[in-house]
């Protein structure tokens, strides 16, 4: 028996399920029709009692987010955050490519619940095919009465706009996303006010991740008790984990929350490539570090358990390193990523990431000095907690991972005046 449980990914293997007819043939839009006959307040209550939490990284309760919006204070906006960019994460892209209608259906129900007549999906700019799939699906939904005027004869009007970003990781942060959607540089806003009070165009706004919204139709259709029966008490439902790197079968695997990393890596992804030994893995992308060593393979993959083990669940991206891979080299690459993606608003992040990259580069190339590790720890400590948004905090993780967890390996680069690994 496999540990997989296909709810969000149930239509992935069905030919034509990405088109309207195919989606409807496998139950698509039934939930949207059902929701249109419900009181919006009851929908919010159902999502609250289901315990659904955001799948974008923070795990905030979705129903509570919806509940903050005053739906009488029109216009209100629903924005789907499809700016997937966390290294190692590829769940939202696959969802939108293979089952775009489930995303539209979830967005529509959320929009109806908060009184929104005009919803947006902010797509990562590089997602060429996924955005095309969303545009096609939206056109089909309009043509079949699932969007537009008088949706399914209910009297409810709903428009959808597919909007592309232009290559900025920071726009996955919800207030930076809203700035970008308003035609500005993607720099985070000061909170409060929160988007629920003043979001897009200073109107009440809900921003939800793709995978989160894709859960909504299933909850409306099968009820919150069904949803609560899956996963753990505090993390109900299933989760798509993206497993990549040194494994035999990289891919998205949907399992109930609380499934161990061992099951995901060894069973579903076929174990470490070439029968090698596992050296390290991320529980949830570059930003969820510090990374874990093999001693953490039995940690249950849910927010609470991963946090108790010393890291963060993040987006659920499990990147795996075999024992012959250099951790420092990957952490240098992550640091380059943060230096490139820092929006430049806060000095500690803008300057600190730049210097950390220089120092990592020096270490990896064999010109490191004994005192470098202490200096790097000092630099990261001066970024963490001193920036506007979480990107600065995340940028410290590669340093902590390589120096705290793999100090011997980092020192070896100094004493051997070079990288001791082939790759």
């Amino acid at each position: 028996m496999t540990a997989e449980m296909k709810v969000l990914t149930a239509r992935f293997d069905t030919d034509g399920a990405d088109r309207y007819e195919g989606s409807v043939a496998s139950g698509g839009y039934a939930s949207w029709k059902k929701a249109l006959g419900m009181n919006p307040a009851d929908i919010v209550e159902t999502i609250k009692t289901s315990g659904l939490r955001g799948r974008g990284g923070a795990g905030f309760p979705t129903g509570m987010k919806w509940g903050f919006v005053n739906r009488e204070d029109t216009p209100t906006y629903l924005v789907c955050n499809a700016d997937e960019g966390e290294p190692g994460t590829f769940k939202d892209r696959e969802l939108m490519e293979r089952d775009p209608h489930s995303v539209i259906e979830g967005m529509a129900i959320a929009a109806y619940a908060i009184g929104c007549r005009e919803m947006y999906i902010y797509m990562r700019g590089e997602f060429g095919y996924a955005a095309r799939q969303m545009e096609r699906a939206a056109a089909e939904a309009y043509d079949n009465g699932a969007l537009g005027r008088d949706v399914f004869g209910s009297g409810f009007n709903l428009d959808m706009i597919v909007h592309r970003g232009a290559g900025a990781y920071i726009c996955g942060e919800e207030t930076a996303l809203l700035e970008s959607l308003e035609g500005r540089r993607g720099q985070p806003r000061l909170r409060p006010p929160f988007p629920a009070q003043k979001g897009l165009y200073q109107r009440p706004t809900v921003v939800n991740n793709v995978e989160t919204l894709a859960c909504v139709p299933h909850i409306i259709q099968r009820g919150s008790d069904w949803f609560r029966g899956i996963g753990t008490e505090k993390a109900p439902g299933t989760k798509m984990f993206s497993v990549s790197g040194d494994v035999e079968r990289p891919g998205n695997y949907e399992v109930p929350f609380g499934t161990s990393a061992r099951v995901l890596i060894e069973e579903l992804a076929g174990g470490v490539s070439g029968g090698k030994t596992l050296k390290a893995f991320t529980p949830g992308g570059a930003s969820s570090t510090p990374i874990f060593g093999p001693d953490k393979l039995d940690v249950a993959m849910d927010w609470e358990s991963v946090q108790a083990a010393g890291s963060l669940l993040g987006t659920g991206a499990i990147m795996v390193w075999a024992d012959d891979a250099c951790i420092l080299r990957s952490m240098l690459r992550f640091t380059h990523f943060y230096a490139h993606e820092s929006c430049g608003k806060c000095t500690p992040c803008r300057e600190g990431t730049y210097w950390l990259e220089q120092m990592f580069s020096r270490l990896e190339s064999g010109r490191g000095r004994d005192e470098d590790l202490a200096v790097m720890m000092d630099v990261q400590a001066n970024i963490a907690g001193r920036t506007f948004c979480a990107l600065g905090d995340f940028a410290t993780a590669p340093v902590i991972s390589s120096i705290k967890l793999f100090e011997a390996e980092a020192r070896e680069h100094i004493t051997k005046k070079g990288c001791p690994f082939e790759r």
Binding site: Y129, D159, R164, G167, Y201, N252
Partner: protein, 211 residues
């Protein structure tokens, strides 16, 4: 680079050769994009893509036109254009080749692919081949790590490449051949058409439901 145009205070000097004004059909497209949003400024990112589809990069002339349409200053438009990686300040080749080198790809040989492509084209990151066919860039995670190592051509992903298969594809592009069909997704469109799509011009317009 001095292209001979007059220096105006407040007008950002961006590199790249001078361009003709936007065509009338492009201006009609711009109006359609602006009408899509409750606030005209939201059309700024789509309009920058429209300029790229017309000029091959974010030209100074394009920036001025957008500023005029949205009642912004050129500096405000340029400030946005320079924030985002996908807006280029030099003319791009017909095909933009993006190589991911984040760990999931790097662990599977992405750096050798990057080096092979650079050698084949004889250019560095951010540059374009002299025949104007190929521009190359090293990029952040493209979020298709199950297909690692990945190279994107005009934002369509090619998976599980080797240095040899990547170089073969580049040779085909430079010889004027159409790119092959990727395992997932569709055959990429040339730069101008790809940027029209990025601008959202292939999208069905809203149905007038919103107030």
């Amino acid at each position: 680079m001095n292209d001979g145009s007059p220096r105006l205070l407040g007008v950002p000097r961006l590199p790249g050769p001078p361009q003709r004004p936007l065509t009338d059909p492009a201006r009609a497209d711009a109006r359609r994009l602006i009408a899509r949003y409750p606030d005209a400024r939201s059309a700024l990112l789509p309009l920058l893509y429209l300029v790229q589809s017309e000029h091959g990069f974010v030209s100074r002339e394009g920036i001025r036109e957008i500023a005029g349409m949205l009642d912004l200053t050129s500096a405000e438009v340029a400030a946005v254009a320079t924030f985002y990686t996908m807006y280029k300040r030099e003319p791009m080749g017909r095909w933009l080749v993006s190589v991911c080198t984040q760990p999931p790809c790097a662990l599977r040989g992405a750096n050798r692919i990057r080096d092979a492509i650079r050698n084949e084209c004889g250019i560095d990151d951010g540059e374009t081949t002299e025949d104007g066919m190929v521009s190359i860039e090293e990029v952040e995670c493209l979020c298709i790590c199950d297909g690692a190592p990945v190279v994107a051509i005009n934002y369509e992903n090619y998976e599980k490449l080797t240095p040899e298969s990547a170089v073969e594809m580049i040779r085909g592009l430079r010889a004027g051949e159409a790119p092959p069909k990727p395992a997932r997704g569709e055959v990429p469109q040339p730069n101008d058409a790809a940027h029209r799509e990025l601008a959202g011009l292939n999208q069905k317009d809203r149905q007038g439901a919103a107030p």
